[in-house]
Protein backbone atom coordinates (compact mmCIF):
# COMPACT_ATOMS: atom_id res chain seq x y z
CA UNK A 1 0.00 0.00 0.00
CA UNK A 2 1.29 3.41 -0.92
CA UNK A 3 2.12 5.60 2.06
CA UNK A 4 -0.09 8.51 2.94
CA UNK A 5 1.32 11.88 2.02
CA UNK A 6 1.18 15.14 3.90
CA UNK A 7 -0.42 17.94 1.91
CA UNK A 8 -0.05 21.56 2.98
CA UNK A 9 -2.48 23.84 1.24
CA UNK A 10 -4.82 26.79 1.71
CA UNK A 11 -8.54 26.16 1.81
CA UNK A 12 -11.02 29.03 2.02
CA UNK A 13 -8.26 31.37 3.18
CA UNK A 14 -7.02 29.12 6.00
CA UNK A 15 -3.76 27.16 5.96
CA UNK A 16 -4.67 23.46 6.10
CA UNK A 17 -2.65 20.26 6.42
CA UNK A 18 -4.05 16.84 5.70
CA UNK A 19 -2.88 13.27 5.08
CA UNK A 20 -4.17 11.45 2.04
CA UNK A 21 -3.43 8.43 -0.05
CA UNK A 22 -1.90 9.34 -3.42
CA UNK A 23 -4.88 7.86 -5.21
CA UNK A 24 -7.46 9.94 -3.36
CA UNK A 25 -8.93 12.72 -5.45
CA UNK A 26 -9.15 16.29 -4.24
CA UNK A 27 -12.91 15.73 -3.95
CA UNK A 28 -12.43 12.70 -1.68
CA UNK A 29 -9.85 14.61 0.34
CA UNK A 30 -12.24 17.53 0.85
CA UNK A 31 -15.28 15.42 1.65
CA UNK A 32 -13.94 12.36 3.46
CA UNK A 33 -10.80 13.67 5.14
CA UNK A 34 -11.60 17.33 5.79
CA UNK A 35 -15.37 17.02 6.23
CA UNK A 36 -16.08 19.71 3.63
CA UNK A 37 -19.08 17.98 2.10
CA UNK A 38 -20.40 21.01 0.20
CA UNK A 39 -18.66 19.86 -2.99
CA UNK A 40 -20.75 17.03 -4.42
CA UNK A 41 -19.84 13.78 -6.12
CA UNK A 42 -21.76 13.33 -9.36
CA UNK A 43 -20.26 11.53 -12.33
CA UNK A 44 -16.58 11.27 -11.27
CA UNK A 45 -15.60 11.74 -14.91
CA UNK A 46 -15.55 15.53 -15.20
CA UNK A 47 -18.84 15.85 -17.06
CA UNK A 48 -21.32 17.12 -14.48
CA UNK A 49 -19.45 19.83 -12.57
CA UNK A 50 -21.07 19.02 -9.18
CA UNK A 51 -17.58 18.80 -7.64
CA UNK A 52 -16.40 22.18 -8.96
CA UNK A 53 -14.01 24.05 -6.68
CA UNK A 54 -11.68 26.95 -7.41
CA UNK A 55 -7.96 26.19 -7.59
CA UNK A 56 -5.96 29.41 -7.69
CA UNK A 57 -9.26 31.15 -8.51
CA UNK A 58 -10.06 28.98 -11.55
CA UNK A 59 -12.92 26.45 -11.55
CA UNK A 60 -11.83 22.83 -11.89
CA UNK A 61 -13.46 19.46 -11.32
CA UNK A 62 -12.09 18.27 -7.98
CA UNK A 63 -12.81 14.67 -9.04
CA UNK A 64 -10.19 15.01 -11.80
CA UNK A 65 -7.43 16.23 -9.52
CA UNK A 66 -5.53 14.25 -6.92
CA UNK A 67 -5.50 15.47 -3.34
CA UNK A 68 -1.69 15.58 -3.38
CA UNK A 69 -1.87 18.06 -6.26
CA UNK A 70 -3.47 20.60 -3.92
CA UNK A 71 -0.05 21.14 -2.35
CA UNK A 72 0.78 24.84 -2.33
CA UNK A 73 -2.45 25.80 -4.07
CA UNK A 74 -5.24 28.11 -3.01
CA UNK A 75 -8.49 26.13 -2.87
CA UNK A 76 -11.92 27.72 -2.53
CA UNK A 77 -14.98 25.56 -1.90
CA UNK A 78 -18.63 26.49 -1.50
CA UNK A 79 -18.05 26.58 2.27
CA UNK A 80 -15.86 29.63 1.67
CA UNK A 81 -18.52 31.68 -0.08
CA UNK A 82 -20.57 33.11 2.78
CA UNK A 83 -19.06 35.52 5.30
CA UNK A 84 -20.23 34.13 8.61
CA UNK A 85 -24.01 34.11 8.44
CA UNK A 86 -24.10 36.57 5.56
CA UNK A 87 -24.68 34.81 2.28
CA UNK A 88 -22.70 35.67 -0.84
CA UNK A 89 -24.86 37.62 -3.35
CA UNK A 90 -24.86 34.53 -5.60
CA UNK A 91 -26.24 32.36 -2.80
CA UNK A 92 -28.83 35.00 -1.91
CA UNK A 93 -30.01 35.34 -5.51
CA UNK A 94 -30.10 31.56 -6.06
CA UNK A 95 -32.52 31.46 -3.10
CA UNK A 96 -34.62 34.46 -4.18
CA UNK A 97 -34.84 33.37 -7.82
CA UNK A 98 -35.62 29.73 -6.92
CA UNK A 99 -32.57 28.60 -8.92
CA UNK A 100 -32.40 25.19 -7.29
CA UNK A 101 -34.67 22.27 -6.67
CA UNK A 102 -32.84 19.15 -5.51
CA UNK A 103 -29.70 21.23 -4.94
CA UNK A 104 -26.96 18.74 -5.70
CA UNK A 105 -25.62 20.77 -8.62
CA UNK A 106 -25.86 24.09 -6.75
CA UNK A 107 -22.41 24.21 -5.07
CA UNK A 108 -20.77 23.59 -8.44
CA UNK A 109 -22.83 26.27 -10.16
CA UNK A 110 -22.04 28.73 -7.38
CA UNK A 111 -18.31 28.16 -7.74
CA UNK A 112 -18.31 28.45 -11.54
CA UNK A 113 -20.41 31.61 -11.28
CA UNK A 114 -18.19 33.09 -8.57
CA UNK A 115 -15.12 32.57 -10.74
CA UNK A 116 -16.87 34.31 -13.63
CA UNK A 117 -18.06 37.30 -11.58
CA UNK A 118 -14.64 37.71 -9.92
CA UNK A 119 -13.09 38.10 -13.38
CA UNK A 120 -16.01 39.79 -15.12
CA UNK A 121 -18.50 41.56 -12.83
CA UNK A 122 -20.75 42.55 -15.72
CA UNK A 123 -21.14 39.48 -17.94
CA UNK A 124 -23.57 39.11 -20.82
CA UNK A 125 -26.04 36.25 -20.79
CA UNK A 126 -23.92 34.45 -23.42
CA UNK A 127 -20.81 34.81 -21.25
CA UNK A 128 -22.71 33.40 -18.28
CA UNK A 129 -23.92 30.42 -20.28
CA UNK A 130 -20.40 29.77 -21.62
CA UNK A 131 -18.97 29.93 -18.09
CA UNK A 132 -21.64 27.54 -16.74
CA UNK A 133 -21.35 25.06 -19.64
CA UNK A 134 -19.51 22.58 -17.42
CA UNK A 135 -22.29 22.33 -14.83
CA UNK A 136 -25.27 20.09 -15.34
CA UNK A 137 -28.66 20.64 -13.72
CA UNK A 138 -31.49 18.18 -14.34
CA UNK A 139 -34.17 20.11 -12.39
CA UNK A 140 -34.28 23.79 -13.25
CA UNK A 141 -33.79 24.06 -17.00
CA UNK A 142 -30.95 26.55 -16.32
CA UNK A 143 -32.99 29.68 -16.94
CA UNK A 144 -33.40 30.62 -13.29
CA UNK A 145 -29.74 29.87 -12.65
CA UNK A 146 -28.65 32.27 -15.40
CA UNK A 147 -31.08 34.87 -14.06
CA UNK A 148 -29.69 34.53 -10.53
CA UNK A 149 -26.13 35.09 -11.79
CA UNK A 150 -27.28 38.22 -13.65
CA UNK A 151 -29.07 39.46 -10.52
CA UNK A 152 -26.04 38.73 -8.32
CA UNK A 153 -23.85 40.64 -10.79
CA UNK A 154 -26.08 43.69 -10.30
CA UNK A 155 -25.73 43.43 -6.51
CA UNK A 156 -21.95 43.12 -6.75
CA UNK A 157 -21.71 46.09 -9.13
CA UNK A 158 -23.83 48.24 -6.82
CA UNK A 159 -21.48 47.68 -3.88
Amino acid sequence: MAKKQLVETTINGEPVEFLCEPRQSLLESLRDILGLTGSKEGCLTGDCGACTVLVDDRPVCSCLMLGVEARGKKITTVEGLAEGTKLHPLQQKFLEDASLQCGICTPGFLMSAKSLLDRNPNPTEAEIRYALAGNLCRCTGYDKIVRAVMDAAKVIQAR
Binding site: L44, R58, V60, M65, A133
Partner: protein, 329 residues
Protein backbone atom coordinates in the same frame (compact mmCIF):
# COMPACT_ATOMS: atom_id res chain seq x y z
CA UNK B 1 -8.41 2.02 -9.12
CA UNK B 2 -5.14 0.43 -8.09
CA UNK B 3 -2.96 1.92 -5.38
CA UNK B 4 -0.08 3.99 -6.71
CA UNK B 5 2.41 6.52 -5.49
CA UNK B 6 2.93 10.00 -6.88
CA UNK B 7 6.54 11.05 -7.33
CA UNK B 8 7.69 14.53 -8.24
CA UNK B 9 11.04 14.47 -10.03
CA UNK B 10 13.28 17.49 -9.48
CA UNK B 11 13.95 18.03 -13.18
CA UNK B 12 13.16 16.72 -16.64
CA UNK B 13 16.12 14.28 -16.93
CA UNK B 14 14.96 12.65 -13.69
CA UNK B 15 11.40 12.48 -15.00
CA UNK B 16 12.70 10.70 -18.11
CA UNK B 17 14.72 8.28 -15.95
CA UNK B 18 11.65 7.43 -13.86
CA UNK B 19 9.37 7.09 -16.86
CA UNK B 20 11.84 4.70 -18.51
CA UNK B 21 11.19 2.24 -15.67
CA UNK B 22 8.37 -0.26 -15.71
CA UNK B 23 4.88 0.71 -14.59
CA UNK B 24 5.34 4.46 -14.48
CA UNK B 25 2.89 6.91 -16.04
CA UNK B 26 3.35 10.62 -16.64
CA UNK B 27 0.93 12.90 -14.79
CA UNK B 28 0.26 16.30 -16.35
CA UNK B 29 -3.30 17.65 -16.15
CA UNK B 30 -4.46 14.18 -15.17
CA UNK B 31 -7.83 14.48 -16.88
CA UNK B 32 -7.48 11.43 -19.13
CA UNK B 33 -5.10 9.56 -16.82
CA UNK B 34 -7.52 9.67 -13.87
CA UNK B 35 -10.30 8.48 -16.13
CA UNK B 36 -8.17 5.54 -17.30
CA UNK B 37 -7.15 4.75 -13.71
CA UNK B 38 -10.75 4.80 -12.46
CA UNK B 39 -11.79 2.41 -15.23
CA UNK B 40 -8.79 0.13 -14.54
CA UNK B 41 -7.63 0.54 -18.13
CA UNK B 42 -4.17 1.37 -16.80
CA UNK B 43 -2.68 0.41 -13.43
CA UNK B 44 0.74 2.03 -12.98
CA UNK B 45 2.69 1.75 -9.71
CA UNK B 46 3.87 5.34 -9.91
CA UNK B 47 2.65 8.56 -11.39
CA UNK B 48 5.46 10.91 -12.32
CA UNK B 49 4.17 14.41 -11.69
CA UNK B 50 5.53 16.55 -14.52
CA UNK B 51 4.06 19.71 -13.01
CA UNK B 52 6.76 19.55 -10.35
CA UNK B 53 9.71 19.91 -12.72
CA UNK B 54 9.01 23.54 -13.59
CA UNK B 55 8.97 25.01 -17.11
CA UNK B 56 6.90 23.67 -20.02
CA UNK B 57 4.13 26.05 -19.00
CA UNK B 58 4.63 29.07 -21.28
CA UNK B 59 3.47 30.27 -24.69
CA UNK B 60 6.35 32.11 -26.36
CA UNK B 61 6.97 33.74 -29.70
CA UNK B 62 10.29 32.69 -31.24
CA UNK B 63 12.78 34.57 -33.43
CA UNK B 64 11.39 33.18 -36.69
CA UNK B 65 7.91 34.48 -35.92
CA UNK B 66 6.56 31.10 -34.82
CA UNK B 67 5.13 30.15 -31.48
CA UNK B 68 6.25 27.59 -28.90
CA UNK B 69 3.63 26.15 -26.58
CA UNK B 70 4.86 24.25 -23.51
CA UNK B 71 3.27 20.84 -23.01
CA UNK B 72 1.86 21.86 -19.62
CA UNK B 73 0.03 24.93 -20.92
CA UNK B 74 -3.68 24.56 -20.12
CA UNK B 75 -6.35 24.54 -22.82
CA UNK B 76 -7.95 27.59 -21.19
CA UNK B 77 -4.63 29.44 -21.62
CA UNK B 78 -4.45 28.46 -25.30
CA UNK B 79 -8.03 29.66 -25.81
CA UNK B 80 -7.31 33.04 -24.20
CA UNK B 81 -3.83 33.72 -25.62
CA UNK B 82 -3.88 36.91 -27.77
CA UNK B 83 -1.13 35.75 -30.16
CA UNK B 84 -2.80 32.42 -30.81
CA UNK B 85 -6.21 34.05 -31.23
CA UNK B 86 -4.89 36.56 -33.70
CA UNK B 87 -2.50 34.48 -35.81
CA UNK B 88 -3.54 30.88 -35.19
CA UNK B 89 -7.28 31.30 -34.82
CA UNK B 90 -8.13 27.64 -35.43
CA UNK B 91 -5.83 26.53 -32.59
CA UNK B 92 -7.35 28.94 -30.05
CA UNK B 93 -10.86 28.06 -31.23
CA UNK B 94 -10.21 24.31 -30.98
CA UNK B 95 -9.08 24.79 -27.38
CA UNK B 96 -12.06 27.03 -26.58
CA UNK B 97 -14.51 24.43 -27.87
CA UNK B 98 -13.01 21.46 -26.01
CA UNK B 99 -14.89 19.96 -23.05
CA UNK B 100 -15.98 22.33 -20.25
CA UNK B 101 -14.46 25.37 -18.50
CA UNK B 102 -13.47 23.17 -15.53
CA UNK B 103 -11.74 20.62 -17.76
CA UNK B 104 -10.02 23.30 -19.86
CA UNK B 105 -8.52 24.69 -16.63
CA UNK B 106 -6.93 21.30 -15.89
CA UNK B 107 -6.26 19.73 -19.29
CA UNK B 108 -2.86 20.40 -20.85
CA UNK B 109 -1.74 20.71 -24.47
CA UNK B 110 0.50 17.64 -24.13
CA UNK B 111 -2.27 15.63 -22.52
CA UNK B 112 -4.75 16.67 -25.19
CA UNK B 113 -2.42 15.32 -27.89
CA UNK B 114 -1.59 12.12 -25.98
CA UNK B 115 -5.05 11.24 -24.60
CA UNK B 116 -6.32 7.77 -25.40
CA UNK B 117 -9.33 7.18 -27.65
CA UNK B 118 -12.89 7.40 -26.36
CA UNK B 119 -14.05 4.17 -28.04
CA UNK B 120 -16.49 2.48 -25.66
CA UNK B 121 -14.94 -0.92 -26.21
CA UNK B 122 -11.48 0.41 -25.36
CA UNK B 123 -12.86 2.23 -22.29
CA UNK B 124 -14.78 -0.79 -21.03
CA UNK B 125 -12.81 -2.50 -18.24
CA UNK B 126 -14.10 -5.97 -19.22
CA UNK B 127 -13.46 -5.78 -22.96
CA UNK B 128 -10.01 -6.90 -24.08
CA UNK B 129 -10.03 -5.34 -27.52
CA UNK B 130 -7.30 -5.10 -30.14
CA UNK B 131 -6.16 -1.78 -28.70
CA UNK B 132 -5.50 -3.41 -25.33
CA UNK B 133 -3.62 -6.34 -26.85
CA UNK B 134 -6.70 -8.48 -27.53
CA UNK B 135 -7.38 -10.24 -30.79
CA UNK B 136 -10.15 -8.16 -32.35
CA UNK B 137 -11.69 -4.73 -32.76
CA UNK B 138 -15.34 -4.89 -31.75
CA UNK B 139 -16.43 -1.83 -33.75
CA UNK B 140 -17.09 -3.52 -37.11
CA UNK B 141 -20.12 -5.66 -36.48
CA UNK B 142 -20.65 -3.90 -33.15
CA UNK B 143 -21.85 -0.48 -32.04
CA UNK B 144 -19.86 1.89 -34.21
CA UNK B 145 -21.70 5.18 -34.59
CA UNK B 146 -18.76 7.21 -33.24
CA UNK B 147 -16.03 5.29 -35.03
CA UNK B 148 -13.75 5.92 -38.00
CA UNK B 149 -14.93 6.53 -41.55
CA UNK B 150 -11.40 7.10 -42.87
CA UNK B 151 -8.11 5.29 -42.23
CA UNK B 152 -9.71 2.58 -40.09
CA UNK B 153 -8.57 -1.03 -39.76
CA UNK B 154 -7.75 -3.20 -38.03
CA UNK B 155 -8.83 -0.82 -35.23
CA UNK B 156 -11.54 1.77 -35.90
CA UNK B 157 -11.00 4.30 -33.13
CA UNK B 158 -11.06 8.00 -33.88
CA UNK B 159 -8.41 10.30 -32.49
CA UNK B 160 -10.11 12.38 -29.77
CA UNK B 161 -7.87 15.47 -29.74
CA UNK B 162 -9.48 18.81 -30.54
CA UNK B 163 -6.15 20.57 -30.85
CA UNK B 164 -4.44 18.05 -33.14
CA UNK B 165 -6.32 18.85 -36.39
CA UNK B 166 -5.71 22.58 -35.91
CA UNK B 167 -2.05 22.07 -35.04
CA UNK B 168 -1.48 19.70 -37.98
CA UNK B 169 -3.13 22.27 -40.25
CA UNK B 170 -0.55 24.83 -39.09
CA UNK B 171 2.31 22.32 -39.72
CA UNK B 172 3.21 22.15 -36.03
CA UNK B 173 6.04 20.00 -34.69
CA UNK B 174 6.49 18.39 -31.30
CA UNK B 175 9.67 18.25 -29.27
CA UNK B 176 10.21 14.99 -27.40
CA UNK B 177 12.83 14.24 -24.76
CA UNK B 178 13.71 10.68 -23.85
CA UNK B 179 16.47 8.36 -22.66
CA UNK B 180 18.18 8.76 -26.06
CA UNK B 181 18.03 12.55 -26.02
CA UNK B 182 15.86 15.08 -27.76
CA UNK B 183 14.06 14.79 -31.09
CA UNK B 184 11.66 16.93 -33.05
CA UNK B 185 8.93 15.46 -35.19
CA UNK B 186 6.29 16.96 -37.41
CA UNK B 187 3.03 16.46 -35.55
CA UNK B 188 1.57 14.88 -38.67
CA UNK B 189 4.25 12.14 -38.48
CA UNK B 190 3.88 11.80 -34.72
CA UNK B 191 0.46 10.19 -35.00
CA UNK B 192 0.33 6.67 -36.37
CA UNK B 193 -2.34 4.50 -37.94
CA UNK B 194 -3.58 1.25 -36.36
CA UNK B 195 -2.36 -0.71 -39.37
CA UNK B 196 1.19 0.09 -38.14
CA UNK B 197 0.39 -0.79 -34.50
CA UNK B 198 -3.20 -1.03 -33.26
CA UNK B 199 -2.21 -0.63 -29.59
CA UNK B 200 -0.97 2.95 -29.96
CA UNK B 201 -1.94 6.28 -31.52
CA UNK B 202 1.52 7.86 -31.78
CA UNK B 203 5.22 7.09 -31.89
CA UNK B 204 6.13 8.31 -28.39
CA UNK B 205 8.68 5.83 -27.00
CA UNK B 206 8.83 4.46 -23.47
CA UNK B 207 10.38 7.09 -21.24
CA UNK B 208 9.82 9.87 -23.75
CA UNK B 209 8.08 13.06 -22.70
CA UNK B 210 6.38 15.47 -25.08
CA UNK B 211 7.70 18.81 -23.87
CA UNK B 212 6.75 21.40 -26.46
CA UNK B 213 4.65 22.13 -29.53
CA UNK B 214 6.20 24.45 -32.10
CA UNK B 215 4.09 26.19 -34.73
CA UNK B 216 5.87 27.98 -37.57
CA UNK B 217 4.89 31.49 -38.59
CA UNK B 218 1.79 31.36 -40.78
CA UNK B 219 2.25 32.29 -44.45
CA UNK B 220 1.39 35.92 -45.31
CA UNK B 221 -2.29 36.07 -46.17
CA UNK B 222 -3.12 32.89 -44.23
CA UNK B 223 -6.33 32.71 -42.24
CA UNK B 224 -7.83 29.77 -40.43
CA UNK B 225 -11.08 28.39 -39.05
CA UNK B 226 -12.06 25.52 -36.78
CA UNK B 227 -15.54 24.04 -36.64
CA UNK B 228 -16.99 21.04 -34.90
CA UNK B 229 -20.34 19.27 -34.86
CA UNK B 230 -21.55 17.62 -31.66
CA UNK B 231 -24.48 15.42 -30.86
CA UNK B 232 -26.15 17.46 -28.11
CA UNK B 233 -24.19 19.02 -25.25
CA UNK B 234 -21.57 21.74 -25.66
CA UNK B 235 -19.03 19.44 -23.99
CA UNK B 236 -19.77 16.37 -26.09
CA UNK B 237 -16.88 14.91 -28.04
CA UNK B 238 -17.07 16.12 -31.62
CA UNK B 239 -18.76 13.85 -34.16
CA UNK B 240 -16.59 15.60 -36.73
CA UNK B 241 -14.23 18.56 -36.48
CA UNK B 242 -12.47 20.45 -39.24
CA UNK B 243 -9.53 22.84 -39.20
CA UNK B 244 -8.89 24.75 -42.41
CA UNK B 245 -6.25 27.26 -43.45
CA UNK B 246 -6.63 29.28 -46.61
CA UNK B 247 -3.84 31.44 -48.01
CA UNK B 248 -5.43 33.80 -50.48
CA UNK B 249 -5.19 37.33 -51.89
CA UNK B 250 -7.75 40.13 -52.18
CA UNK B 251 -9.37 38.50 -55.19
CA UNK B 252 -9.92 35.25 -53.23
CA UNK B 253 -7.40 33.41 -55.40
CA UNK B 254 -6.19 30.51 -53.22
CA UNK B 255 -2.42 30.17 -53.17
CA UNK B 256 -2.38 27.40 -50.58
CA UNK B 257 -4.78 25.51 -48.33
CA UNK B 258 -4.72 22.98 -45.52
CA UNK B 259 -7.71 20.88 -44.56
CA UNK B 260 -7.54 18.54 -41.55
CA UNK B 261 -10.49 16.60 -40.13
CA UNK B 262 -10.81 15.32 -36.56
CA UNK B 263 -12.97 12.52 -35.08
CA UNK B 264 -13.24 10.77 -38.45
CA UNK B 265 -10.04 8.67 -38.43
CA UNK B 266 -7.56 7.09 -35.99
CA UNK B 267 -5.27 10.07 -36.62
CA UNK B 268 -5.97 13.73 -37.44
CA UNK B 269 -6.92 13.25 -41.11
CA UNK B 270 -5.26 15.63 -43.53
CA UNK B 271 -7.05 15.76 -46.88
CA UNK B 272 -4.45 16.30 -49.58
CA UNK B 273 -7.29 15.81 -52.08
CA UNK B 274 -9.17 18.84 -50.74
CA UNK B 275 -6.00 20.91 -50.57
CA UNK B 276 -5.14 20.12 -54.22
CA UNK B 277 -8.68 20.96 -55.30
CA UNK B 278 -8.47 24.35 -53.58
CA UNK B 279 -4.98 25.39 -54.69
CA UNK B 280 -5.21 27.79 -57.62
CA UNK B 281 -8.99 28.04 -57.41
CA UNK B 282 -10.96 31.17 -56.64
CA UNK B 283 -12.65 30.70 -53.30
CA UNK B 284 -16.41 30.55 -53.53
CA UNK B 285 -19.06 28.16 -52.37
CA UNK B 286 -18.69 25.83 -55.34
CA UNK B 287 -14.90 25.55 -54.88
CA UNK B 288 -15.46 24.80 -51.18
CA UNK B 289 -18.12 22.22 -52.03
CA UNK B 290 -15.77 20.53 -54.51
CA UNK B 291 -13.07 20.35 -51.84
CA UNK B 292 -15.58 18.80 -49.42
CA UNK B 293 -16.65 16.26 -52.01
CA UNK B 294 -13.11 15.04 -52.75
CA UNK B 295 -12.16 15.09 -49.05
CA UNK B 296 -14.82 12.50 -48.27
CA UNK B 297 -14.48 10.46 -51.45
CA UNK B 298 -12.21 7.88 -49.75
CA UNK B 299 -14.64 7.51 -46.81
CA UNK B 300 -15.58 3.91 -45.94
CA UNK B 301 -18.22 4.10 -43.21
CA UNK B 302 -19.12 1.18 -40.96
CA UNK B 303 -22.74 0.05 -40.41
CA UNK B 304 -23.84 2.95 -38.15
CA UNK B 305 -21.56 5.91 -38.87
CA UNK B 306 -22.39 6.82 -42.46
CA UNK B 307 -24.10 9.95 -41.10
CA UNK B 308 -20.65 11.38 -40.43
CA UNK B 309 -19.97 11.72 -44.17
CA UNK B 310 -22.49 14.51 -44.92
CA UNK B 311 -21.60 16.24 -41.63
CA UNK B 312 -17.91 16.17 -42.55
CA UNK B 313 -18.66 17.51 -46.04
CA UNK B 314 -20.69 20.38 -44.62
CA UNK B 315 -17.99 21.25 -42.09
CA UNK B 316 -15.16 21.14 -44.66
CA UNK B 317 -17.15 23.44 -46.94
CA UNK B 318 -18.02 25.87 -44.14
CA UNK B 319 -14.54 25.85 -42.56
CA UNK B 320 -12.85 26.57 -45.90
CA UNK B 321 -15.25 29.43 -46.61
CA UNK B 322 -14.91 30.85 -43.12
CA UNK B 323 -11.10 30.66 -43.27
CA UNK B 324 -11.28 32.51 -46.59
CA UNK B 325 -13.36 35.25 -44.99
CA UNK B 326 -16.68 34.19 -46.48
CA UNK B 327 -19.33 33.61 -43.82
CA UNK B 328 -21.84 30.83 -44.32
CA UNK B 329 -25.09 29.82 -42.74
Amino acid sequence: MNRFEVVTPRDLPNAVKLLSGRNHAALAGGVDLLDLLKQNIVAPQSLVNLKGVGAMDAIETDESGGVRIGALVKLSEVAANPTLRERYGAVAEAAAQAATPQVRNLATVGGNLLQRPRCWYFRHPDVNCLKKGGDRCYAPGGLNRYHAILGGGPSFIVHPSNLAPALVAFAASVKLIGPGGERTLELERFFTLPRIDPTRENVLDTGEVLIEVMIPAPAPGAASAYLEAREKQSFDWPLVSVAAIVVSDDTHLIRDARVVMGAVAPIPWRSHEAETALRGARLDSSAAARAAEVALKPAAPLSDNGYKVPIAKALVRRAVLRAGGIETA
